[in-house]
């Protein structure tokens, strides 16, 4: 399966979330991202980047969030066209 991370996604292209990791220093990010709707199986899109490339505008489900590159890098994604085991 062709997976990579949300911070490296192409703009305005829908992807499917495969997995959410958390950095070693901030294990709580996993739960926080989950609670905002970054849940495996959900559709996600990189809408825009701020000047300098950070932070990012992310669409997940029907919500829009500003995420730092470090936060987006926790979210593993795969192109939507591929079928992914949930």
């Amino acid at each position: 399966m062709n997976t990579f991370f949300l911070d490296g996604a192409r703009q305005r292209t829908p992807y499917r979330i495969v997995h959410v990791n958390a950095p070693a220093g901030a294990p709580e990010w996993h739960d926080w991202l989950h609670e905002l709707g970054f849940i495996p199986g959900e559709t996600v899109q990189l809408m825009a980047r701020a000047a300098g490339g950070d932070p990012l505008v992310i669409r997940v489900g029907n919500s829009t969030f500003a995420l730092r590159v470090a936060e987006a890098a926790c979210i593993q994604i795969t192109p939507l066209t591929q079928t992914t085991p949930a």
Binding site: W32, G37, E42, A50, P55, G61, F65, E71
Partner: protein
Amino acid sequence: MKPAVVHVHPGGPLIALVGNPNCGKTALFNVLTGSRQKVANYAGVTVERKEGRYQKADGKLLRVLDLPGVYSLNPRSPDERVTVDVLMGRARGEKRPDRVVCVVDATNLRRNLRLVLAVKRLGLPMVVALNMTDLAARRGIHVDADALARELGVPVVRTVGVRKDGATDLRALLDAPPDSWRSAAPASAPHADHPSVSADHDAVQRILAGLGLDRHAPHTLSDRIDRVVLHPVFGMAILLAVLFLMFQAVFAWAEAPMGWIEAATGWLAGAATAVLPTGWMQSLLVDGVIAGVGGVLIFLPQILVLFFFILLLEESGYLPRAAFLLDRLMGSVGLSGRSFIPLLSSFACAIPGIMAARTISSPRDRLVTIMIAPLMTCSARLPVYALLIAAFIPSREVAGFELQGLVLFGLYVAGALSAAAIAWVAKQLTTGSLPRPLMMELPLYHWPTPRNVAIGLLQRAEIFLKRVGGIIFVLTLVMWLLASFPVPPAGSTAPAIETSLAGTLGRLLAVVFEPIGFNWQISIALVPGMAAREVAVSALGTVYALSASTADPAQALIPLIAHQWSLATALSLLTWFVFAPQCLSTLAVVKRETGSWRWVGVMAGYLFALAWTASFIVYRLAVTAGWG
């Protein structure tokens, strides 16, 4: 040991409104309770507590609590913790709600329904208010409320929080006896034992699929606006234009109402002087009460204009976009875009600014934001700046700009730059800190509703007027007393104030302030100025012209101080007020917010040291330049 807390609950059932941030919960709260609202703080924390009264059809009153918005029952920030604590019945001084209205955004059921499932597990009688159904319909989302109610096992009503008649069905439920609200779950113990977010997500997906709502609706309009507003170049230009307009308006729009307040105070002082016989009673009323309170009341228009803009930006959904644009810039001094909103509010007053810092989830960022909030030039410093600029800065054009305006702008910039410098120092001192989360929702844009803005403004006005009637009124009286007693001995030729308590105290303080060019009159005026900075102006008025029955102390003061002070002293005092140790109310809020006297001490100490050092440098440079 902590003192015991006495729990006093006013009678009547308590209804709690709970929901995701930006689900229109507060608008719905405003529709239900109108202006019958009380804004206070939760015990022990500076989270704003909004309680209102809802009048049932039979005339009985229900207490309605507007809880801070949450994404889950797993709190991330102090305000989210309040919501969870209240729902669990753990909040200090707060009874567990009798019933819960879970407000959901009909345009975003996927995320909102997860919270419904979590709240349902708490076992409180609840209903779901399907809010923003008008927006949902416009985007082609039609939710079958009855089907949703069957799926969830709790009553579901449609509401439109932005319309006055938008809560008819919810009112019917509130009017009905409580037992018609099905208890959500088989009375489980009140703890946040939620299985997993993914399990809830799957359950929500199943429900939505059953209702034919599992498609994504496009956000065309908000997306199109964001293409411009979040654009690296245009977005920044728009943000600067908005901030510029806002500060222009604070001065331009407030000018006329300030004139009316000034005229009214003058008329009142004149009338009181005419009616009352000359003596201490007249002096107390005219020099003390009317001049003191009027001198502060005059800033109400500016505060309201500033809050008007902040409320508009907040309601429309623009503020988080501004925070997004500034995130990187603020990151360079170790803060995040989330600190932007508290710091912007601090230009009106540091107290709401410090309170707004509660939305910052990183404890370190929150503390730094609180510590630098007083460096944002609050509106209470404006009267001091206005007085000194009018007295010492010539009114002429420099490179096409008004010099007085440029100096004022410079003072604001000096405050903001020093805040950045302090944040940068804090960043150097706390190296190795964890990456700080942003994770900030950018809600859909919507038009601010006049009613919500009006209610917000009324609340701000009420808070300010209570302050004027309370602490500022008392201080004005104390200042008048200190400056009037003891009366000079018979035969004394010196002005009465020099032999008064204020005169003695001022001379003692002058030892500290003499090196930075302050005379004893200024030193004494700084004391009440610490309780509330704007009082420094009326205190100077009292000190200099106690016997003169003038309505507006500032007007009489301008020629007086222009004559008596050197330019070096004036520049030094302006510099002092850029950093001026913040008022006592700010310190009290910092104590409550951080829960420690240590940070109160650090804040007061560092600002005093900064103010003194900066004033010393400015004064010495000015004296060297021949302005002494």
